[in-house]
């Protein structure tokens, strides 16, 4: 998941220049491999657009894991029981790990982690807009697990078959952990939905606030999604935004009903002819606004990332200096 911004880069950014015959041949071969479901590996030839698309998508995913730790970090000090605290810590630790192997997968495409982090901190790179919403009560932690991670899984399961090997393999591991995250979220929500009136109020309120932003996680509607066709041809993407969004709604609505929670959409209704739920129009104006930087927490999240990075600078410099000193000492010892 976490790749909704993928669709936001205007076409002009990848202006076409004339291709020579060799390039045309290589591209045809490349597409044949893709069509035959042969994985592309780092040393294989690949079109520049494929490489750039993957760097953008994988780094957005990595950034989202890192920024996504912040709304949860907001509650880990206030988790209501030691068991919940431990589970949330484990989840946050997983997310840092996901960030690490996604940055590594990106590095196989010829871009360094430092460059990627620089892009995040400068505001040039996007991360999932969902993390620009606040966690106000403990119920939000449950809803993030249940719905945000649930939407992530919906997006990521097909990515396990992504044509780019390192990304696909990273995704297999990530998906396993995400399903544990979703379960813990659902468990929190369930406990609160069956709890006191105050707890039920918190959990319904959290659902009301998160519902539409979660549906936005799948990216803009297919009709406005510029990159979908090319990404599907390259088998980076296997399903369209709208297909995945529909699947998600179909999966989640019965769960909400079992919990006695009300989805905040008056148009939500089972459509027996389609065999799917119909649902209302996602407030896309809000989506674009938040993606462009005006969400409740955009500034706050980036500011924290920047501050942490700045405050850690002397530590990273010390580590590098020490490593260099050690190397020189070892060399001197060898020479002696």
């Amino acid at each position: 998941m976490y790749t909704q911004g993928l669709d936001l880069v205007p076409k002009g950014a990848e202006a076409q220049r004339p291709k020579d015959a060799e390039e045309v041949r290589l591209e045809e071969e490349f597409q044949k491999k893709i069509d035959a479901e042969i994985r592309i590996e780092p040393d294989d030839w690949m079109p520049e657009g494929y490489r750039r698309t993957l760097i953008r998508q994988i780094s957005q995913h990595a950034h989202s894991e890192i920024v996504g730790m912040l709304p949860e970090g907001n509650w880990v000090t206030r988790a209501p029981t030691l068991r919940r605290k431990a589970i949330l810590l484990a989840k946050i630790q997983d997310e840092a790990g996901h960030g690490l192997y996604l940055y590594s997968a990106c590095e196989t495409l010829g871009v360094s982690r430092e460059e990627l982090i620089e892009q995040l901190l400068s505001g040039k790179a996007k991360y999932s807009s969902i993390f620009n919403y606040p966690t106000l009560t403990w119920a939000d932690v449950g809803i993030i697990g249940w719905l945000v991670d649930g939407a992530a899984i919906m997006n990521q399961v097909p990515l396990q078959r992504c044509s780019y090997g390192p990304y696909a393999r990273a995704m297999i591991r990530i998906c396993r952990e995400e399903s544990f995250h979703q379960r813990q979220g659902y468990e929190i929500v369930m406990a609160m939905a069956q709890g006191t009136p105050e707890q039920r109020r918190m959990v319904q309120d959290a659902l009301n606030r998160w519902w539409w932003p979660v549906l936005m996680m799948f990216g803009p509607p297919d009709k406005d999604s510029w990159h979908t066709a090319q990404s599907m041809k390259w088998k980076i993407k296997r399903f369209t935004n709208d297909e995945l969004r529909q699947r998600f709604v179909d999966a989640v609505v019965p769960q909400a009903e079992r919990l006695g929670l009300k989805i905040p959409d008056p148009h939500l209704k089972w459509n027996p002819e389609r065999g799917h739920y119909d649902f209302g129009e996602v407030p896309w104006d809000e989506f674009w606004r938040v993606v462009r930087g005006d969400g409740p927490c955009n500034r706050q999240r980036l500011e924290q990332r920047r501050r942490a990075w700045e405050e850690g600078r002397w530590v990273r410099e010390a580590a590098l200096t020490y490593a260099e000193k050690r190397r020189r000492r070892r060399e001197a010892a060898r020479a002696a």
């Binding site: 912040l70 949860e72 000090t77 605290k85 431990a86 840092a96 403990w138 105050e198 600078r313 002397w314």
Partner: protein, 253 residues
């Protein structure tokens, strides 16, 4: 104080040290200097919370008044907390975070190693698990002390300051009071004073490699582990940690 009461107090000391250190590390989520360290700190926090759960659950059973790990973690106020002053100190900069982690972990390593031979089987089992984790905490934080001490001028200065600032809180770890004496007599745990030489060796070796100076021993405040006088910091930590349990006492989570 009868035997059960002594054991209860002792288990609170063990559990609260792990709990409060773990809580301090929780505060750092999202603030680590690099991603690898983000993972490491969360991992160590998780170990600490896990240890706290084992010690406090056992404490609750020994007490026999129906208090579980959460009742003990979330429903006791400053006067009833039994952690050492060292672990409640604020995170400060990364050098302070690492310095505190190193000094307490080097102590816990000796303590847990001794507790693996405890006459109390349950405690010995918990210590066995905690020891494995703590050895990693000592290694990890010790490596950072060395890197920062022997890194740049700035990191050296910060690391030395952190050790200097925290040093006064290490004295309490090795004091022996009535509880400690009874625990030692019953073969349940070591007399803390006996752990000092091994701790000294460990800490001195790391400080030497880090090109840092061992501070002079001066006045060493006490009052954490016996609950006589915690620092002002603890109340704020508890206010945050205990908020939900206090605000919604009837709720189950």
């Amino acid at each position: 104080m009868d035997r059960q009461e002594v054991l209860f107090e002792y288990l609170l000391r063990l559990g609260d040290n792990a709990l409060i250190l773990g809580q301090r590390l929780c505060e750092l989520v999202g603030w680590a200097p690099e991603l690898e360290e983000e993972m490491a700190l969360a991992n160590i926090a998780l170990d600490c919370i896990g240890q706290a759960r084992l010690f406090l659950s056992y404490a609750g059973e020994v007490e026999g008044r129906g208090r579980d790990e959460d009742a003990l973690a979330f429903r006791r106020d400053v006067l009833d907390l039994r952690n050492a002053l060292l672990v409640e100190q604020p995170n400060g900069d990364f050098a302070h975070t690492i310095g505190r982690l190193f000094l307490i972990s080097a102590f816990n390593e000796q303590l847990y190693a001794a507790l693996t031979g405890s006459a109390d089987r349950r405690l010995a089992d918990i210590a066995q698990k905690a020891l494995v984790e703590t050895r990693y905490h000592v290694r990890h934080s010790g490596e950072w002390v060395i890197r920062l001490g022997d890194g740049t001028e700035e990191s050296h200065r910060r690391m030395q300051k952190a050790i200097d600032d925290l040093w006064m809180y290490t004295g309490e770890l090795f004091t022996t009071d009535e509880i400690d004496r009874k625990i030692a007599e019953a073969g349940i745990g070591p007399d803390p004073a006996t752990l000092k030489p091994a701790w000294d060796r460990r800490v001195e070796a790391v400080l030497r490699e880090a090109t840092l100076e061992r501070p002079q021993d001066g006045w060493m405040p006490t009052g954490g582990k016996d609950g006589r006088m915690h620092s002002e910091h603890l109340g704020h930590l508890l206010a945050e940690m205990q908020f939900l349990q206090r605000a919604y006492p009837d709720a189950r989570w």
